[in-house]
């Protein structure tokens, strides 16, 4: 604006305001709260939270509709509407309180040690979800859609599990070797995808899906007549993991929570460090955000794809090993992945591909799993409702404008479109 005014720090701090008044010296300081609010509302974290809220609301409607009492009361709704409303309230409140008591804290049980047990269950369920979620999230940050979690988990579980039941090693060493072999298995299985993409340009969505089938039938075969077969049994199931390789319990035998959870915390810290503090992560993000600029800046995009798939597969492999060394130690079948490889995509999306976001999202999904069972047991709510809620979360996350419209949040688009012209005009002063 005024041409000869010397540049001062204040003038640089104010570009958000220039068009309002002619003289920036008179422009008010942009309100800090305004910026914070904008950051939160237009940022992604709020969308994740609101998506969960919305999904729970829709879930409530479905719980009410599927409830027998509600259906019975609806017949005479116009005669006595109160009955139906009460039935709706009972069914929804009952279902969600069962969900809470099954996943966080059970007030009906005596004492804290018993009451908190559901929460440890939640963490146990969350453990592989977080690990696999981190793997998928890492892929997202590099611009790769790794939906091969299932295959990578199966290979990791098969190899890690084999080390766990077939080898004889001293206690701690046995576990570490099984863990590392499993992680390496997942990494290599995903690494194939990275290599195919770098060398031939094959799209990772296609190759990961196909490798899921390859892994599933390969493991099935190994279980039936390969090196995973239990001698003398016709069940396609592996022998039990040896005690020397099993993850130790964290809170004693009363609880299912095991050492895997500590590993997952470590993995989250690692992913955070990798993505926000290391130069490899820097290159990953550069490739993910703008591969062209990364290439011009001398970053080998192809190499980053391979590295990223290796690391992504390794993290998903951790989830696979966790299954055979921690959760299901009595021998595993070809369904050992229990769909975690796909749930991980949801977890990564809900966590906005940020390591700690994934951690929290993983725990939420762990809570759905733990609470879903008690919801079914206590209230007779079909467990499918929980799956519906999970799916709706993804749906709402995928459609931020929908969530914004429902909650009347300001759209980030107008801000984005306008911002460049603000600074352009400031640059002209």
């Amino acid at each position: 604006m005024s041409a000869d005014r010397p540049e001062s720090p204040q003038s640089e701090a104010q570009p958000a305001q220039p068009a309002k008044t002619a003289d920036p010296a008179e422009a008010p300081e942009p309100s800090r709260w305004h910026n914070v609010f904008r950051e939160i509302t237009t940022g992604n974290a709020i969308i994740s939270v609101l998506a969960v809220v919305l999904a729970l609301i829709v879930g409530a409607v479905m719980i009410a509709f599927t409830n027998k009492d509600v259906q019975a009361a609806s017949v005479y709704f116009f005669a006595r509407p109160g009955d139906m409303l009460a039935a709706i309230w009972d069914s929804v409140a009952g279902a969600y309180s069962a969900l809470f008591q099954g996943s966080i804290y059970n007030f009906r049980r005596p004492g804290f040690a018993d009451g908190i047990k559901p929460f440890t269950e939640t963490l146990t369920f969350a453990t592989p979800l977080i690990a696999a979620g981190l793997g998928v999230a890492l892929g997202f940050r590099v611009g790769l859609f790794n939906i091969g979690g299932r295959g990578q988990m199966l290979i990791a579980a098969a190899l890690g599990g084999w080390v766990g039941f077939a080898l004889d090693l001293p206690p701690v060493l046995h576990m570490v070797v099984a863990l590392l072999v499993g992680i390496a298995g997942g990494a290599l299985w995903a690494g194939i995808v990275g290599l195919l993409k770098a060398r031939t340009g094959a799209h990772e969505v296609i190759t990961t899906i196909m490798l899921n089938y390859v892994a599933f039938y390969l493991v099935s075969y190994w279980l039936r007549e390969g090196f995973l077969k239990t001698p003398g049994s016709n069940n396609p199931k592996s022998p039990a993991t040896k005690a020397t390789a099993v993850f130790p319990d964290l809170l004693g035998p009363e609880y299912n929570l095991h050492f895997g959870f500590i590993l997952v915390i470590a993995a989250t810290v690692f992913a955070w460090w990798l993505l926000s503090r290391s130069n490899l992560g820097f290159k990953f993000r550069a490739v993910g955000e703008n591969p062209n600029a990364a290439r011009v800046a001398g970053i080998s995009v192809k190499r980053m794809y391979v590295y990223a798939m290796l690391l992504s597969g390794g993290l998903i492999g951790l989830a696979g090993v966790n299954q055979v060394l921690g959760t299901t130690t009595s021998g595993f079948g070809a369904g050992i992945d229990s769909g975690i490889g796909f749930d991980a995509i949801t977890v990564a999306l809900l966590g906005r591909s940020r390591p700690w976001g994934v951690f929290i999202a993983g725990i939420l999904f762990g809570a759905f799993k733990a609470g879903g069972f008690s919801m079914q047991a206590a209230e007779g709510v079909p467990i499918d409702i929980v799956l519906v809620v999970q799916s709706l979360i993804v749906l709402f996350i995928a459609a931020p404008p929908l969530v914004r419209a429902i909650f009347r949040l300001p759209s980030p688009d107008t801000v984005r479109r306008a911002t460049p012209s603000v600074t352009k005009e400031v640059a002209a002063k």
């Binding site: 604006m1 005024s2 041409a3 000869d4 540049e7 640089e12 701090a13 570009p15 958000a16 305001q17 220039p18 068009a19 309002k20 503090r277 290391s278 130069n279 490899l280 820097f282 290159k283 993000r285 550069a286 955000e289 703008n290 062209n292 600029a293 990364a294 290439r295 011009v296 800046a297 001398g298 970053i299 080998s300 300001p410 107008t414 801000v415 479109r417 306008a418 911002t419 460049p420 012209s421 603000v422 600074t423 352009k424 005009e425 400031v426 640059a427 002209a428 002063k429």
Partner: protein
């Protein structure tokens, strides 16, 4: 038709893009709307064309208030727009493009192409456009495609024509032809709004000039005003348009390119057997209309093109076929032509973008860890040195203006020890104030003894910076001429006419440095 805008205000959130803008365009007048990128010109025209709804003010045509809900209404009222990027369908013929959107049909829904053809021919004859209604648009030169756009607007009885930066894609000759077309249109009573930031064109053709800055009308000027006066109005302070530079002290040839040929993915030859050299302390400007092989040539030098034949050596060492990483490490600095696509990661902060091509080893990385302290100090220093106007080094570059984004790229590239500096379109989409700064830094780099290549489609820039000018046409070198070659000669060369004294295909190491 007389067009009047009264108090047009358009806000985007807290930003006022147009602040009570008044503009009157008399019938049969060429009214230039002059302003920097982002001053609000395009927003104003989008309001006029019904693409945006104004928050305040009114639009009057022949003193009647208009309400445009969309471009359809504006067209019906007689407003036509010739966009910077043509809105044509390449595989359609001229006539098909012209009738697109208001197709007339015969019985049974059959397209009435004959009417469209007649219309094209009639308009084309009236203004001497020489456009064949049955030609495929994709086969027409850019200048002719623009005429198709004009015909399209006129065929809808446009009485007010808006030209949005029409000369950006034209050769100087085509620009001159466009100017005469605009004068003809004016004679026939059409009102013209001519949006541009090129001062020379404004002075040549405009009857009146309105200057917009920061969303406001800051003044009117007559076409007799000098470039400096107009630039001062645009920028709001005195601007030095001439680049101050001492005569080049050219040293020994540093970059030597011999028989370089580049093939595109389809196997077409896009750079055809070019040979040239750049000496230390010399600026070689590569001039030419967009799309004549300059982009591919610079990318080939950087190792970004996969299929390259011939020899490239820097300081005597062959660099062709090396990876981008290696070429950067030898000391080649590069400003890519499209900074948002190839030069910057929009979501990254300024600091992160400043280390983009130095993500390995010192000074920013130790044992795989990013040295955030070192990076932040460096970023702060560079933001100050290169006068990047920003809220802080943690601001995503996406939010910066074009000029400031370009300064970030420039700061990054000039902070390394350079043995060669390649700047492709260094000032495209950059405001006048930043242009001045960027030009100064480029000349300073030359004066430090670094060989510099500047690729530009703007003749003003070429003549301002170049010690030697290499003109490219259809992938070949038309000639390499001294920096003070007259514009008219350069213009002819850009259209393919060999105007230089040099033999276009001979290795011109000494010739270029002479």
């Amino acid at each position: 038709m007389k067009l009047e805008l009264r108090g047009i205000t358009k806000r985007f959130g807290a930003l006022v893009a147009n602040d009570h803008i008044d503009l009157t365009v008399e019938a049969g007048e060429i009214h230039a709307l002059l302003g920097e990128n982002g001053a609000g010109k395009s927003t104003l025209m989008n309001v006029l064309y019904g693409l945006y709804q104004a928050d305040g003010g009114e639009i009057l045509l022949d003193d009647e208030v208009q309400h445009f809900a969309g471009p359809g209404d504006a067209m019906k009222a007689g407003i036509g727009m010739v966009h910077q990027h043509f809105m044509l369908i390449p595989v359609f013929t001229v006539a098909e493009n012209v009738m697109l959107g208001h197709e007339s049909t015969k019985a049974g829904g059959v397209l009435d192409l004959a009417t469209a053809r007649t219309k094209v021919r009639e308009i084309s004859d009236r203004f001497g456009f020489d456009v064949d209604p049955d030609a495929l648009v994709e086969e027409l030169p850019v200048g002719v495609q623009q005429r198709v756009e004009i015909i399209k607007a006129l065929s809808r009885d446009a009485r007010v024509l808006v030209f949005d930066e029409p000369t950006a894609v034209l050769t100087p000759q085509e620009t001159d032809e466009l100017m005469s077309i605009m004068r003809q249109l004016k004679e026939s009573g059409t009102s013209i709004v001519f949006i541009t930031h090129k001062l020379r064109e404004v002075r040549e053709v405009a009857d009146r000039i309105t200057v917009i800055r920061l969303g406001k009308v800051v003044g009117e000027a007559s076409p007799t005003a000098t470039n400096e006066e107009l630039a001062t109005l645009m920028v709001g302070r005195a601007v030095d348009l001439t680049v101050d530079k001492a005569p080049a002290k050219a040293g020994k040839p540093a970059l030597v390119v011999q028989n370089l040929t580049v093939l595109d993915p389809l196997g077409n030859i896009v750079v055809d057997d070019v040979s040239f050299s750049v000496a230390e302390g010399e600026i070689l400007a590569i001039a030419g209309v967009q799309g004549n092989g300059q982009t591919e040539l610079t990318e080939a030098l950087l190792g970004l093109q996969p299929r390259v034949l011939g020899e490239v050596s820097l300081d005597g060492k062959a660099i062709r076929g090396h990876s981008v990483r290696k070429i950067l490490d030898v000391g080649v600095g590069f400003i890519p032509e499209d900074r948002t696509e190839d030069g910057l990661v929009g979501e990254f902060t300024i600091a992160e973008n400043l280390m983009l091509d130095r993500a390995d080893g010192a000074p920013f990385v130790r044992f795989g860890n990013i040295q955030r302290g070192a990076l932040e100090d460096f970023a702060r220093e560079k933001v100050a040195e290169f006068d990047v106007r920003t809220q802080g080094i943690d601001e995503p570059v996406r939010r910066l203006s074009g000029g400031n984004q370009q300064k970030v790229v420039l700061a990054r590239e000039l902070s390394r020890d350079l043995r060669l500096f390649v700047a492709a379109q260094p000032t495209r989409g950059v405001d006048v104030g930043s242009i001045e700064f960027i030009h100064k830094r480029i000349v300073a780099t030359r004066d430090a003894g670094t060989p510099v290549i500047v690729v530009s489609t703007e003749l003003d820039e070429v003549t301002a910076l170049a010690d030697n000018i290499m003109v490219m046409y259809r992938g070949r070198i038309v000639g390499i001429v001294p920096g003070d070659t007259p514009r008219s000669v350069l213009g002819l060369m850009m259209a393919g006419a060999s105007g230089g004294s040099e033999n276009p295909t001979a290795p011109t190491g000494e010739g270029a440095a002479a």
